[in-house]
Amino acid sequence: MSESAPYSNPWLQWQRAALDESFAALGRMTNFPTLWERAKRVRKGVSASEVVYEEDRLKLLHYRSDSKPRFKTPLVFTYALVNRPYILDLKKGRSVVANFVNHGFDTYLVDWGVPTPADRHLTLDDYINGYMANVMDYLFERTGAKSLNVLGYCMGGTMSAMFTALHPERVKNLILLAAPIDFSSNDSLLNLWTRPENFDVDKFVDTFGNCPPEFLQSTFLLLRPVGNFLEKPINFYENMHEEKFLEDFLTTESWLNDNIPVPGEVYRQFVKYLYQQNLLTQNRMPVGKHIVNLQNITCPVLNLMAGKDDLVPCSQGMPFTNLVGSKDRKTILLDGSGHIGLAIGGRAQKEVWPQACEWLAQRSD
């Protein structure tokens, strides 16, 4: 519009702008009635997969490929317990999983499932030394491999780091994606809000059982109130007549609002031992009857972080590479990107994932 405005008179320019805006608004209105239907049609995971292992609510997905995998060592994705894992395979051209499958990796993804009130007593020990260990055992049986490549995203990264420290012989290469490890700084508002003087996690879990998804979602939204409550709706309104924008928006928003509860005891341990006491960096983190010592991680480590991450700022993930016992360690920082952009953003797809695939390929059989 502005390119075609040849008027030097500001009054005429304003009139032209108002006219253009009216037509755009009309276009938006026509999209309104179909929005709900379109949001419901959003696919949850786009790559072809099958469930190969189940335990309680956990499902292990295996991604099918047209060609035989180039590498014998399988790759397992572990996602956080706070949202659904299909963010890693959100849409065509934006799928982290597809990057690795196309690169020739035999790729699996752990879907933890949706916990019910009966799961409120599940602990980090159950997830790390129970479910994760059993998934790895199953994959050893299935593929004949002696060790696996593990990629953990967000809280799944923290859990993967703990798993690798407790079972170093089972992990060949470890990739962490925006994984919080050092909780000492107050860069993230979450760290400040969960300090013992501000938040009584025992009282919370004892009363609520599982941590309710609505509570988590509203906390995440509050991290960027202006962005989430003002900028996002306005941006949506202004661009909803563009097909591509609408598709991206609905896909991302459907995932963002697809929250699940976190088992109460896991939530208690995560907040108390990590956010409040920062035990992981001190090598004092208890998982069941074991203590996690990050120095036990000696496999090659790749640490991926986003420069503008509100949820897991760099100060939480960066120290990891210096805390492990590995000699082969690398950090990639994507400036200007956020927590989700690091996985599905256009720049991440061009700059981060090809590098990460190449890094893993060089270290896999």
């Binding site: 702008a17 335990e55 059993n134 790895m136 508002l189 938040f199």
Partner: protein, 170 residues
């Protein structure tokens, strides 16, 4: 009563300060642009400046002791309300002789304790069998160092009794 009043007044003052600062930043942003750019661009630039100023102010506010205090109060209220509801529901269920959430939690905890004890015992037995096995295979003369064996035990995975593969299920 006066303490509460003071707290509320402090929180209100902090909130007012936020808005005063935001408004002054917004005004600065609005007057920082000339009339060279076309109107919608100017508006968008002004808006983005306003949002940036607002975001900064809110970030400061959400880190302020007043906000943290009010958040804590709000959380306490929510927890107390939920606790009251839980207690009421438990009472109703007890009266009609139905199991309450507490009853189910107690059963679940008992099952979990039993499972834990069983798994610990299975792990111990596994270690003993391993030792016997190595003795039978003639490796008894070279016992593993104490530290290494305790580390090995620490790495023993905790198997779930409910493990089931897809093929087994079929």
């Amino acid at each position: 009563m006066s303490d509460n009043f003071e707290k509320t007044a402090e929180q209100a003052a902090a909130f007012q300060k936020i808005w005063m600062e935001s408004m002054s930043k917004i005004m600065q942003t609005a007057f920082a642009f000339g009339n060279n750019s076309p109107p919608p661009d100017v508006l968008k630039q002004i808006r983005s400046g306003i949002f940036q100023a607002l975001a900064q102010s809110w970030e400061e506010f959400m880190r302020s002791p007043e906000f943290l205090e009010s958040m804590k109060q709000w959380m306490d209220t929510a927890i107390n309300f939920r606790k009251m509801t839980n207690d009421f529901m438990a009472k109703v269920r007890n009266e009609i002789q139905a199991p309450s959430r507490d009853d189910i939690d107690t059963v679940m905890l008992t099952v979990r304790h039993m499972e834990k004890r069983l798994l610990d015992r299975v792990e111990e037995l596994a270690v003993r069998i391993e030792k016997l096995d190595s003795r039978l295979n003639g490796h008894a003369a070279q016992p593993a160092p104490k530290v290494a064996s305790s580390q090995a035990k620490a790495r023993e995975p905790r198997k779930s009794a409910r493990r089931k593969t897809k093929s087994e299920a079929a």
